[in-house]
Amino acid sequence: MEARHVIGMYHLSKRYEDRTVLTDVNLQVANGEFVFLVGPSGAGKSTLLRMIYMNESPTQGQVVVGSFVSSNMKRRQIPYLRRKIGVVFQDFKLLEDRDVFENVAIAMRVTGETNYEIKRRVMQVLTQVGLYHKRYDRPVKLSGGEQQRVAIARAVVNSPEILLADEPTGNLDPDVTAEILQLLFRINSSGTAVLMATHNHALVKNFGQRILHLRDGVIEEDRRVGPRRFSRERLDEISMTAGKSIWSDDGRADR
């Protein structure tokens, strides 16, 4: 089980008209692995993630996600692929006409979950991201960080097999970032493969298990330091330090 790959990219390239965004990307993510994806602005991180949830199809090569293979997918299979993947979009992609609860619940609605189960899980996840008290607000009434946490809640509410997080802490302060990271680690330790694109390098430096460097659409470096996934022990360790600060440079502005 551990050795199986949930995500595989083989000689994958992506071009938009005259612009090449990804060049010959080869990448395997094992079941339950935690991978950081870093690289400068415009490197192709979001595009790489889009390939996985098949919002874009490769110009060359192929993507394999679980039992789905990009080269012979039918359009109507895509929803079933996406239900196995939770995505925190860089621009959140919240439904503006629904409240926070429904924005999170929608990921379960599409699978036909019972109302009871939906209510139970959504409330639980909203509590985890600290937005239980805003569950009946529309997204426009939320601050940037609150919106980002709604996006995170929606991505994890289904306990997906794969979690793709695109810059999920860009609008969060260090304390909340620590909480969200713990949430991601906990999900990872229960078997979900996590692929997280981020510019927060302090975070990568401290928790990097496997770090993927992307630059100009090419994987420059793919390095594993720690174990594949977060173990319960490592998690407890983080939780303990989190009380004060989990950042090497003392994180929060010195006040």
């Binding site: 949830y53 919002n55 359009r75 109507r76 895509i78 929803p79 079933y80 692929l81 996406r82 239900r83 995505v87 979009f89 992609k93 919240l94 439904l95 503006e96 006409d97 629904r98 929608i106 990921a107 609605r109 599409v110 699978t111 036909g112 979950e113 019972t114 109302n115 929606r154």
Partner: protein, 289 residues
Amino acid sequence: MKLYQGLYLIKESFKTLGRHKGIMFLSIVIMSLTLLVLAVFLLVTDNVLSALERTRQELSVYAYIEEGLTQNDIEQQYKKLLAMKEVESIVFISKAEAMTEFEEEFGEGSAILESLESNPLPASFRIALKDGYKEQSNIRLFAEQVTAVSGIENVDYGKEFLDRFSLMARVFLYVDMILGFIVVLSSVFIISNTVRLTILSRQKSIEILKLVGATNRFITTPFVLEGAFQGGLASLVSLALLALIYLVVVKMLPDIAFLDVQTSVLYVLTCIVLGSLGSFAALRRFLRL
């Protein structure tokens, strides 16, 4: 589709109507007014057609009787005519009655006859025809048969009037069909395009639903229900407006009849189907179904 999901989608479609009040209101106003024009057209057509039909019903054939026949001869003729398969009923008009009718019909124009010392008008039979024998061609045939009856001098079935009337009715039907074609086609296009406009403004939501793993059915169902609702509501509003207009007009033109229940129901159902089909067609594009 699971039960929970089905119920959710129905609830969802009504909630969405509430969430997009502004757009829905505009869309329903546009549809209602479009349909009002259609409904008015239906009402006018309906009434003109029944007026034409009524006139056609009143058509009758006059058989003029030769001067100097005996009462007996005339009774003989009456029986003969009554036996013919086209004849519904016959009224005998004496020379005196003919004069009165003539004066009534031509009004002061009859002045030209007043100066005559004797009544030049012959007695006649007014023959009402059975349904199905009132077509121009049937009448001509019938007139020939009547002329063949002995003692019938002449047959008048208002050839000129019948010709004019038939022409007029044909022109009206023709123009009406063209108008109907235009009005119906316009309405269908306006309604489906309006539905499409309301959907365009929610393209982002559709995109997001696709990204969180919604099937096409999950996405379309609420839209189709909303389309049905918009179409249905708009048709009811247009009927209500039509009724208001009717109530005003009927005071001046008391002969006018409202659309009958059957037509109204059919009309509402058509609009419901139109609204939902419009939604569905518009979504096909976005979802590349």
